[in-house]
């Protein structure tokens, strides 16, 4: 999965064609760490159709908030640079993410 930061976010996500998934996570967020292996799993499976990225909010708080992300974990999907889906909270699991991916590809 591609590591995002302030410098490459616009280029890799907003100016990118096709479907991009961004996993917003934080080191203090246990749910995020629980979810990460599932997202990596999905990256193996859908890697050809979707660009999988992750963004550690440490140092990137404003960037996340600019994407209207104010809670973790947040999985945000973009298509052709446009925000299409924002999954967040305790109920986010592999199945929910996979469903969202399938809708966009």
């Amino acid at each position: 999965m591609l590591e995002l930061n302030k410098d490459n976010f616009d280029e890799e996500v907003l100016e990118s064609d096709g479907v991009v998934l961004v996993d917003f996570w934080g080191e203090n967020c246990d749910l995020c760490l629980d979810l990460m292996p599932d997202v990596e799993d999905l990256a193996e499976e859908y890697g050809d159709d979707v660009k999988f990225c992750k963004l550690n909010i440490k140092g990137n708080r404003r960037l996340a908030m600019g994407q209207q992300v104010l809670g973790l974990p947040s999985i945000v999907l973009y298509k052709d640079g446009e925000k299409k889906e924002h999954l967040s909270g305790e109920d986010v699991d592999r199945d929910a993410i996979e469903e969202a991916i399938k809708e966009l590809i």
Partner: protein
């Protein structure tokens, strides 16, 4: 590695890990199944831990790490897995996770509780956009911002204090009269003394509003009915907890009206060999120390259950010979006398197996066979009760054993 266990513990919080320490130390093959990556349960998500006896200087995550190390020291196994069902086949119980099945002779349910959702307008919509249930996850976002905390129990007030390390202002919405909160006095005092914390009393939050992100909440005074549009950047929900018992939906395990598991003082549920411990159990006090106590009780009871059941299966149910079972108690003279006379009959030489059950120690078997009076003698063949003698004369016993046997021979 074998997937058969003596004891499977569902949930790796303080109750589950205490049970694991007791179980594995007693040489039971013990497995803890935790749905999350990290063990420790609700406690591991907190910061401070000030009231666990004997450990005056620790943090909540550190204490939970020590619970785990302690259990692993006695070879308890840990696995990640969310349990979705439990099938009770008598002495064998099948514990199913999403992708695996385990069998266990005893099961301890220690799944704890999770934050309750209020279901107010905007709660779903603004999840991850200002609505939060986890202060440690999201606090950093609110540096220099203003947040609202809904709830007034220990976790609400504790987390509100934690949030003041980041946010400029934290407003707690309390449903009770001014000055009244459910949290412990100690937390209340700290909150009152904190300059960054303010309160809405007699109030609830009715709606969360915003565009893209949370802009405000509608606070309703339940006494006057007055509504206030209160500006804030985030809303944290700490409105109590609900037990994690959804996975028991298809089982016979008895729950109360609020879906907590019903268990007695010995942590026994209505199903023999299945126990409940910690916050998931119907009870009043829910603390780390009481959860740990529950776990210890459950494990000790499970161990004595295993011993009693294993002995019974081996010596009675699976016995090739007919078995004479005498229910007795060392404090009941009549039962001692009967047993003495029984031994004089020399039934073992005539092909019987003799088994004694102490009704005080072995309630499991005593209750299963509805033994209410002692002495009671059962004659069991192929696992089935063929004769039942309550308070028998020795002649009666002779009749169903020796004479019956001769009859068969003739």
């Amino acid at each position: 590695m074998s997937e058969n266990y003596d004891m499977i513990i569902v949930g790796g919080g303080p109750a589950g890990m205490s049970a694991a320490i007791y179980g594995s130390r007693s040489k039971l093959k013990t497995l803890v199944l935790e749905s999350k990556r990290k063990t420790g349960g609700q406690v591991a998500t907190y910061e401070e831990m000030e009231n666990y006896p004997g450990v005056p200087e620790t943090s909540a995550p550190e204490l939970m790490e020590n619970f785990r190390t302690h259990a692993e020291k006695f070879d308890a196994e840990f696995a990640k897995g969310e349990v979705i069902d439990i099938v009770n086949n008598g002495f064998e119980k099948i514990v199913k996770t999403k992708d695996k099945e385990y069998t266990a002779k005893s099961v301890i349910l220690a799944t704890g509780a999770e934050p309750r959702k209020l279901g107010i307008k905007g709660e779903e919509e603004f999840k991850g956009k200002g609505v939060s249930y986890c202060a440690t996850c999201d606090a950093e976002f609110y540096e220099g911002l203003e947040v609202v905390v809904i709830g007034n129990g220990n976790s609400a007030v504790e987390e509100a204090i934690y949030l003041t390390k980041f946010a400029d202002k934290v407003t707690i919405v309390v449903i009770h009269e001014e000055g009244v909160m459910d949290a412990e006095k100690l937390f209340q005092e700290r909150a009152f003394a904190n300059d960054k914390i303010e309160f809405f009393w007699n109030s609830t939050v009715e709606e969360i509003k915003g565009e893209g992100l949370v802009d405000s909440v509608v606070v309703k005074n339940i006494k006057t009915g007055e509504k206030t549009d209160f500006e804030c950047d985030g809303v944290f929900f700490f409105v109590g907890r609900v037990p994690s018992t959804d996975f028991l939906e298809n089982t016979e395990i008895e729950l109360n009206d609020n879906n907590y598991i019903k268990a007695n003082d010995n942590m026994e549920t209505n199903i023999p060999g299945i126990y409940a411990a910690g916050d998931v159990r119907e009870k009043v006090v829910r603390q780390v120390i009481t959860a740990a106590g529950d776990g210890a009780t459950a494990a000790v009871m499970a161990q004595s259950y295993l011993e009693a059941e294993e002995y019974w299966q081996e010596n009675v149910v699976e016995s090739a010979k007919p078995v004479i079972v005498s229910f007795w108690s060392p404090t009941d003279n009549e039962s001692i006398e009967t047993i003495g006379k029984l031994e004089e009959l020399g039934l073992e030489d005539r092909g019987y197996k003799m088994v004694k059950i102490d009704t005080y120690k072995n309630k499991l078997i005593t209750d299963r066979y509805n033994v209410e009076e002692i002495p009671t003698i059962l004659k069991i063949e192929d696992g089935e009760v063929k004769e039942r003698l309550v308070n028998p004369m020795i002649e009666d016993v002779k009749e169903v054993t020796i004479e019956n046997l001769e009859e068969v021979k003739n």
